[in-house]
């Protein structure tokens, strides 16, 4: 760690640097040519598309083609459909539920790695948590289909143990396993990263003052790692909220989630404006949840 003084010195030095005065246009050119490309790209291909999504919610569709318009018909259409509200309630409820459950499941694991694993064991655990994030979620879900099927690996094991078979595929439980596949590594990783930075002196002090193990976790460790834990739960919410693979291939598509509504609407006769209404609703929901979570995480402790 360098002292903040050093950074200030560098800033001063930079200001006083003899070249600074002489080559202002050149320096500008340098700064712009490095900072503009990402900005231009994201404006062109991220901001415009997302804004365009909002714009086309007011457009109409004629003969399977988009037509610029200013109508609330698409909003009216989606917001008067019962299935939209069902899907919204299901998606929102599942995402909240998953965020809480996965956070709770991940915590002991993150705690173990942060406080009990040492050196290279911890490095290895980190690597193991990073790998699934980059491995095809699609193929992992397909593999779960094979494992969870009625004649799959799990039920074969149960049979071998003389236990009754369990139906897992095409159930809510199956969907949750898919969500866990998607979120668990990331949530554990984010929790772990925040737990590693918990001040060990505080933990030690808490122990010395006679606070029990669970008491220390509840009163010292969780409050210290609060921000990371909330961010992890938020990511879990976001991922679950937008996922269509788990509900479709592990939940059997029996209950429709918002993403499936979007896909179905896009596929059925190019009704992009109606799909956009659902998408914009999702974005607004996510923003609201994200702001609430961030506010909750960063607010001053009592």
């Amino acid at each position: 760690m360098r002292s903040p003084g050093a950074a200030a010195d560098v800033r001063k030095l930079r200001r006083k640097s003899p070249r600074a005065g002489h080559f202002v246009p050149k320096q500008r050119l340098y700064a712009f040519s490095l900072s503009l490309p990402p900005l231009v790209w994201q404006l062109l291909f991220l901001v415009f598309p997302v804004v365009f999504l909002l714009v086309i919610t007011f457009w109409s569709v004629e003969f399977f083609r988009l037509k610029p318009d200013f109508t609330f018909a698409n909003w009216a259409f989606i917001y008067t459909r019962g299935y939209f509200y069902d899907a919204y309630a299901l998606t929102f409820g599942m995402a909240i539920f998953t965020a809480i459950v996965i956070s709770a499941i991940a915590f002991p694991c993150a705690y173990a790695i942060a406080f009990k694993f040492r050196g290279s064991a911890r490095q290895f655990a980190l690597l193991l948590l990073i790998i699934p994030f980059f491995t095809s979620y699609l193929v992992r879900v397909y593999a779960w289909q094979v494992v969870l099927a009625d004649s799959g690996v799990v039920n074969m094991l149960l049979k071998w143990l003389s236990l009754p078979p369990v139906a897992m595929l095409n159930t809510l439980g199956g969907t949750l396993i898919g969500y866990a596949t998607l979120c668990l590594p990331l949530v554990t990783l984010l929790q772990l990263l925040s737990l590693i930075y918990v001040d060990r002196n505080l933990v030690e002090a808490s122990h010395n003052l006679g606070c029990g193990r669970l008491g220390t976790i509840w009163h010292v460790i969780i409050p210290s790692a609060r921000i990371g834990i909330m961010i992890a739960a938020l990511f879990c919410f976001i991922l679950t909220f937008g996922d269509f693979v788990s509900p479709l291939y592990l939940g059997g598509g029996l209950r429709t989630v918002l993403s499936t509504v979007i896909i179905d609407t896009v596929k059925s006769g190019q009704q992009w404006p109606q799909a956009a209404v659902v998408a914009v609703t999702m974005v607004i929901t996510l923003l609201a949840v994200a702001l609430a979570a961030i506010w909750f995480a960063y607010r001053r402790p009592k």
Binding site: L34, Q42, L46, F134, A180, R213, W272
Partner: protein, 274 residues
Amino acid sequence: MNENRWINLTLYCYAFGIFVFIFTPIAASFVFSFNADRFPTLPLGDFSFQWYRDIISDADIWLAFGNSAKVGFTVAVVSTVLGFCAAYTDHRYRFFGKSVYLTLALLPPTIPVVIMGLAMLAFLSRVSLSGNIQAVMISHIVMCAPFAMAVIRMRLALMPADMEAAAWNLGASQWRALWHVILPFSLPSIGAALFVTMAVSFDEYAVAWFVSGLDPTVPVSILTTLQGRVSPTINAIGSIVFTVTIMLVVLAQILLLRHGKNKTRKILATAKGE
């Protein structure tokens, strides 16, 4: 901290259980890709390369792999360049609206892929760019650049604050300092960013599915297969994809951890020596 052997043991087992859960699908995919039975059950059938042979003789899969490779390389290069620019800007400058700049640079991974896909489809088809491999590249660059930015930014944070300024004071122009100081210092992270972005692009299915049209990538063709019927070839394709991405991520890690330390030491030593 007071330690209790039984509690520690429980925690170890718990962590192990979590890892078992995380790696079950990956392992299952590998095991069943060598299983001769059409319907994967226990006990396993004979060992067989059948599904791999099926892939090799499938022209569509080759096309998809070709598309994935083209997209992966382009996306890796462009998003690493963009990511480096964003990371350097964040590292070097303070300016009005920087938080907006950073939000734009890091936002994409938090946007649900379905929404991203729909937005890209609607927008790109409006400007006649959708339905081909270029559309996939454009969207993947948007999604991958933040990963490159994050990886390179972490590396730049380790850079001694006065190194670049020292180069300027010694008479190097900004471009020279960038070329001789910043780039060598961030080289391991640039390599890592290339691998990471390629891995992300290689696995992305949803946005590619929306915009790819008649040029499907591997994940898109997996998705299409999934919608049809159960096919053990997916296990074989999946195993290949797993192997490729895991190798890319491990390479990135090795670059960041090992090479990173040595390189830093070397550059610092050279800097001191001069």
